[in-house]
């Protein structure tokens, strides 16, 4: 592999080194997650750690945070060699990590969560004292959160603040943030960035893990890039490097950002959702009167911050969840509150959000996984008997057509990478030539190259005249693929925006999409579209 570090502009580090990782090696079953990775963190910087999913970013940082132990390589903190055998050791050395999935006790208060696991206080806990202490700490760093609130009462953004406070309370100097923006609305991301800047102003250092180029170039002072466990750039000043260059370092080739999207030719309505109400797994109302429709030959997006009812909506449509009120029509047939088989037999494809727990059977082979939808019909089965030869042939054809990288189709799918597993699922769903497809977060966790492939497949479906409902948290993805986007917030549709596919000159397109992002962002945080428009008019007056 070519070492592209040398080609990047590098400036001599001015600030002292806080963390130095040398030649870190870490393996997992089937992957070399970190292959002799070097990493340096300067005092008082925000260091962006970029890489596709599965590139080894989180692994490297889990090593630094004491969660994993490296197989080779050394870690120096402020010049001293350290060997961490637990996160506790790392925190003692001043290194703390905020994970992608929060580790909080929902039924306890903010203060209780922050004190959890500390030896102080030993016996008697005088919570009010600690409440004030934590409130003060929060104020210092612009982390507004009520110390007495219970975790379950807090929004995801607030919970993230609690996680950051937890680390600050333990006195860490180095804070590692693992994909912190994945769960946040655009406005909350701004707030997070303010906090991070406040932290470095007070002498802390931050490592910001992300696979979103844009964010990293906005927030980071320097950037390191990992690709398949190898550092392709370390400590490059983010000002001196373009987005294209970073993308190339991440993916190893140029990424085309523009997709070849032909003008849409929407036909008849295929899916009609009318006033659907449904409950979440916890029995709380998750959908509160959703109405939307999808026409043949168009991709319709559902935008929203995670957990606003998107999952439940896709489950009601696919028949995996019952709705309490309202109905879903597919080509005029009522499909809500019937079984999933009915939808499958009426031409519905479903790419579920959870690839491993819903979309596939991990211990079964690729062959067994690709026949999940068509095993009832010839040529896969005849008279109740499976034709394994036909099934294997089918699997091999899909393997070839969809570029599934796997030694043989008898390999269990649990050994496949996220991107490959998603290709297995998409191959299965698309090869059934669906009339309607609902895809939930189809690109989550995939690398840039794989995302592009998924996007092309979705557009091909649209051109083939299928109706596609795309649920995603990536606004950029929705804007580049969809003809229309609905925004969902707390189980209600806040509004619907059209996305023109004829591209005017670049500047106009940019300001147009900037306006759209703002509008969608406001809807994602609970402002209905008509209210935004009213305010917009008022502002003009």
């Amino acid at each position: 592999m070519i070492n592209q570090t040398s080609s990047m502009p590098s400036s001599p580090p001015q600030a002292p080194l806080v963390v130095e990782m040398r030649g870190i090696v870490k393996r997992f079953p089937g992957v070399l997650a970190n292959d002799h990775v070097d990493f340096e963190l300067l005092h008082g910087e925000i260091h962006g750690l970029l890489g596709e999913n599965g590139a080894g970013k989180s692994t490297l940082m889990n090593v630094l945070a004491g969660l994993y132990r490296q197989e080779a390589g050394t870690i120096l903190v402020k010049g001293e060699p350290k060997a961490f055998s637990s996160p506790r050791d790392a925190i003692k050395a001043g290194i703390g990590m905020v994970h992608q999935h929060f580790m909080l006790v929902p039924s306890q208060t903010v203060t209780e969560n922050i004190l959890l696991g500390l030896d102080d206080p030993r016996f008697i806990m005088r919570l009010p004292d600690y409440n004030t202490k934590i409130a003060e700490l929060g104020e210092r760093f612009g982390l507004k959160v009520d110390p007495r609130a219970k975790i379950w009462q807090l929004s995801v953004g607030e919970q993230q603040r609690v996680e950051i406070l937890k680390m600050l309370y333990r006195g860490v100097d180095v804070l590692i943030m693992d994909e912190p923006t994945a769960v946040l609305a655009p406005q909350e991301i701004e707030g997070l960035f303010v906090t991070l800047r406040a932290m470095i102003a007070q002498g802390k250092s931050v490592i910001f893990i992300s696979h979103k180029l844009q964010e990293v170039s906005v927030i980071a002072d320097r950037v390191s890039v990992l690709r398949r466990g190898i550092a392709t750039a370390s400590g490059v000043p983010s000002k001196g490097v373009s987005r294209q260059e970073l993308a190339r370092l991440m993916v190893g080739r140029d990424v085309i950002f523009a997709l070849d999207k032909k003008p849409g030719r929407p036909q008849d309505v295929v899916l009609e959702v009318t006033d659907v109400h449904a409950e979440s797994d916890k029995g709380l109302p998750a959908l509160r009167g959703i109405s939307l429709n999808v026409r043949a030959g168009e991709i319709v997006g559902v935008a929203g911050v995670a957990g606003n009812g998107q999952s439940e909506l896709s489950q009601v449509i696919s028949g995996m969840r019952r709705c309490a009120q309202g109905q879903v029509l597919l080509n005029g047939d009522k499909i809500s509150n019937r079984n999933t088989l009915f939808g499958i037999q009426h031409g519905m494809a479903y790419v579920p959000e959870d690839r491993t727990h819903v979309g596939s059977a991990p211990n079964l082979s690729v062959t067994d996984n690709v026949i999940m939808k068509n095993f009832r019909k010839p040529p896969i089965s005849k008279n109740g008997l499976l034709d394994m030869k036909a099934a294997t042939k089918h699997a091999n054809e899909l393997k070839l057509a969809y570029d599934i990288i796997v030694p043989t189709v008898s390999t269990p799918v649990r050994l496949l990478s996220g991107g490959n597993l998603q290709r297995v699922i998409l191959a299965r769903e698309i090869s059934g030539l669906p009339a309607f497809m609902v895809a939930v977060q189809p690109t989550r966790g995939l690398d840039v190259g794989a995302i592009e492939g998924v996007h092309r497949l979705l557009l091909a479906q649209r051109e083939a005249g299928a109706a596609v409902l795309l649920v995603s948290e990536e606004l950029e993805e929705l804007l580049s693929l969809c003809d229309r986007v609905y925004v969902i917030y707390e189980g209600k549709i806040m509004g619907e925006v059209m996305i023109g596919d004829d591209e005017p000159d670049e500047g106009a397109a940019l300001s147009l999409s900037k306006g759209l992002v703002d509008t969608i962002g406001q809807m994602m945080t609970g402002t209905p579209l008509d209210q935004i428009q009213k305010e917009g008019v008022a502002a003009h007056d």
């Binding site: 088989l341 499958i344 059977a361």
Partner: protein, 374 residues
Amino acid sequence: MTEPTTLNKRRAPFRFRIEPRLSEPPAWYPAAVSFGAIIVALILGGVLISFAGGDPIRSYLHIAKASFGDIGVLSDTIVKATPIILAALACSVAFRMKLWNIGAEGQFIMGAFGASAIVLAPVLPAETSRWIFIPVMMIAGMAAGAIWGFIPGYLKAKFNVNEIISTLMLNYVAVAWVNFWIFGVWTEGGFQMSPKFPDGAWLPRLSDYAKAFPIFRGLTTHLGLVIGIVAAIILWFIIFRSRWGYEIRLIGDNPNAAQYAGINITRNTIWVMMLSGALAGLGGMSEVGGVVHRLQTAPVAAGYGFTGIIVAWLAKLNPLAIIFVSILFGALILAGREIQPSGVPKMIQGIILVCLIASDFLLRYRVVIERVEE
């Protein structure tokens, strides 16, 4: 940069480290590990035997001789293995769908009852030909077992009643049910057993053909073995080559994915429990028709259903592997009668089980021996 604390400590020149396997082990590896585990178990058992004052090598030779020593005892081993094969097949199909059917014992007993009812009710007259008696008894045994599987299956499917509890409890009900019939209705002179079956209701044994093949003289291996092997082959075919088997495997591996694929889990829960019960019931029929030749609680409710659970697991739910594991367990049961104290084969059985389960670890992890650097 040596750590000062390690300097004064004496340390071994190497250390063990356990790490997850990075790739799937080769195909022969699981079998080799299982074989190794049995060897280790026999060594451990030998240590315990010598603590108890016995001679391990002589004990093992004795066990081997008592189970496999000549064609006569081999036949006895197979007779012991036959009910285990069918009970283990019953468990394996339920376990594959992650239905924890602990009730093979009860279904086995009910199968014995159902088959006996044909003879004792009597549904067929005593002078009926063997070739009518046996198929009818098989059907009756399977039906009775299937009913005993249907009850917990239906409760699980419709009301989500925990099948572990319901199948376990139904075992006791089955014993009580059979006891009622052999005490009250079909008793032979007040003893807790039914009269002996007429010849036509006996499964043919090898010794029946001793006139034509003198070597079969005294061999008690009966038609149940053939039934067991055929059932194993059919079950393998159902699981791996049929649409239904595919549904079972999919539900077992990931019920969410099965629901997503449009598979009716409720219906499959009931059908699989019935298939499981039918297989165990067939085992009960084979035991009364081939060995006991009358309905009697003690020799039928001898724990084959529970042994079947262990055997199914050890065979990794593979119907064909179950045949061989059952023969091993048949040998251990037989040896129990041969050597004193009779606790020893039970103990060896336990040690083998623990070692085999522990050896699974080696399939997922590997042990690395590394030199400690000075």
